[in-house]
Amino acid sequence: MAETVNNSGLLTVRLVTPDRVLADVTAEAVELPSMSGYMEALYGHAPLLAELGAGEVRLHGGTSGDQKFFVAWGFVEVLPERVTILAETAMHPNEIDKAEAQQELQAGEKMWHEAGDNGEQYDAANALTRQAEEKLASAEGRST
């Protein structure tokens, strides 16, 4: 791994979606929405693999300034000098279609009511609702 180590104290952050590589930048710190809550990775973090939930990936510092991305479901690999985010859905907050997110929210709630005693349906409904909520929050710039 010697060839990839840099001494700048900056993380190389890469955001990859099924379609393309959305971002390939450097940052001082990265906030990640993992399944069990937000976490922040700095340079020199211990190697970690985590599942991402819905929320915002926030990049601080670095050459391209602060950046935010909305992501929904994926994986992240954190290495001491590199963070790779594998997201099923990822976009800039200003690319979010609020009307569509609203619809998704309603669809999620409807699914929840119709789930009956099907546990998997509940999980799917909850995931959809949460994703829509996070999407709206991100679009309106009030994501926590």
Binding site: A46, P47, L48, L49, E51
Partner: protein
């Protein structure tokens, strides 16, 4: 014998056709370039997903029971009684033998499976495949049962498949390939995974055109489920391009300015291969078993997505080649017609001169 005027008219019409086929060729070339790019851009994600899965499989806590097998419904092998085949064809014609080759290969597959006494579900993707198989086989029927419990607060749904014929068609994916969107592919693959887990189907195959470069394509039947080995494509049958086809494709690519070589691996792609494989002990934020469970369906999605991307590129390449041949043929036809026209005109002139000369001689 046709007169000069008729011939001139025909030449003009063939010239028009040539212009159209030439334009179609250039459009296909541009679309091919874009499709190739898309396929390239999708590679890092697929690679990384596979890597994470592989590194998870190496961990022992996924192995359960006394058999020591990896526990996941998508890895379970059953006797193949009901087979699902996804047929990836195009949405439009004018692509030479592209669509008919695919449907022929799919039909062969279906016939072979029928001969073994297995039931086959056909899930056609692309309008051409859909039109054909819908006409040939009946549509699958699902019954949705609804059960109300005493308190009427919860409802229980269950879908039951009623099989009436050994070969049935299901799914409507007509415009999926025109605007390839991962969300739609994901929905399709979820439905397939669900059917597999419910044991409605025992194995899944895809028939599609694999595309490496313009001159390196093949028609393959790939086994998708059950997953035997991660990160590899299990090809059960394939049909390579003939030398003749390769030559035609290479010629078309050259005139359209498309490289015949496989695109080179990008830096991101090279690094994608290292994703999740660092020789370190990762901290797992969630339990590996849970990660594994969530990853498997996504892996299937990327496999299907990959097949679609390749097929789209192959379709454009096939159309480009077909249109290039058509343009060449039109050129040949124009030459032949011009020759005939000149001959006819010359014959008329000669005839007139003879008439004048013999008339003068008779005086």
């Amino acid at each position: 014998m046709a007169n000069v005027l008729d011939l001139r008219r025909r030449i003009r019409s063939v010239k028009n056709t040539r212009q159209i086929t030439k334009a179609m060729k250039m459009v296909s070339a541009a679309k091919l370039r874009r499709a190739q790019e898309r396929a390239m851009l999708a590679r890092p994600y697929a690679q990384m997903l596979t890597n994470v899965l592989e590194s998870l499989v190496r961990r022992t806590d996924l192995y359960g029971g006394e058999s020591g097998d990896v526990m996941h419904p998508l890895l379970v092998e059953r006797e193949e009684k009901n087979v699902l085949v996804i047929v990836v064809a195009g949405d439009k014609g004018f692509a030479g033998a592209f669509n008919s080759n695919i449907t022929k290969a799919a039909q062969n597959f279906i016939d072979a499976r029928r001969a073994m006494g297995q039931n086959v579900d056909v899930e056609p993707v692309g309008r051409k495949a859909r039109d054909l198989f819908r006409k040939r086989y009946p549509t699958a029927v699902y019954d949705k049962t609804e059960e109300h419990y005493d308190n009427d607060l919860s409802t229980h749904y269950e879908t039951i498949r009623r099989r009436s014929a050994p070969v049935e068609v299901l799914g409507e994916h007509q415009t999926l390939l025109l605007k390839l969107d991962i969300a739609e592919v994901s929905a399709m693959s979820h439905s397939i995974v669900e059917r597999y887990e419910r044991a409605e189907i025992d194995s899944v195959y895809v028939v599609y055109n694999e595309f490496k470069s313009v001159i390196s394509q093949r028609l393959v039947v790939e086994k998708l489920l059950p997953i035997r080995k991660l990160g590899s494509h299990e090809i059960t049958a394939s049909e390579e391009m003939s030398e003749e086809q390769k030559e035609a494709a290479a010629r078309a690519a050259k005139t359209a300015g498309i490289s015949v070589n496989e695109p080179e691996e990008s830096v991101v792609e090279a690094e994608a291969k290292k994703f999740g494989t660092a020789e370190v002990d990762y901290i797992f934020d969630q339990s590996p078993a849970r990660l594994f469970k969530h990853l498997m369906p996504r892996y299937v999605t990327t496999q299907i997505f990959h097949a679609f991307l390749e097929s789209v590129a192959a379709e454009h390449a096939a159309r480009m080649t077909a249109m290039d041949s058509a343009t060449n043929n039109a050129g040949d036809m124009i030459d032949a017609l011009s020759l005939t026209m000149n001959r006819v005109r010359q014959a008329a002139i000669t005839k007139e001169i003879i008439e004048i000369v013999s008339g003068a001689a008779a005086l």
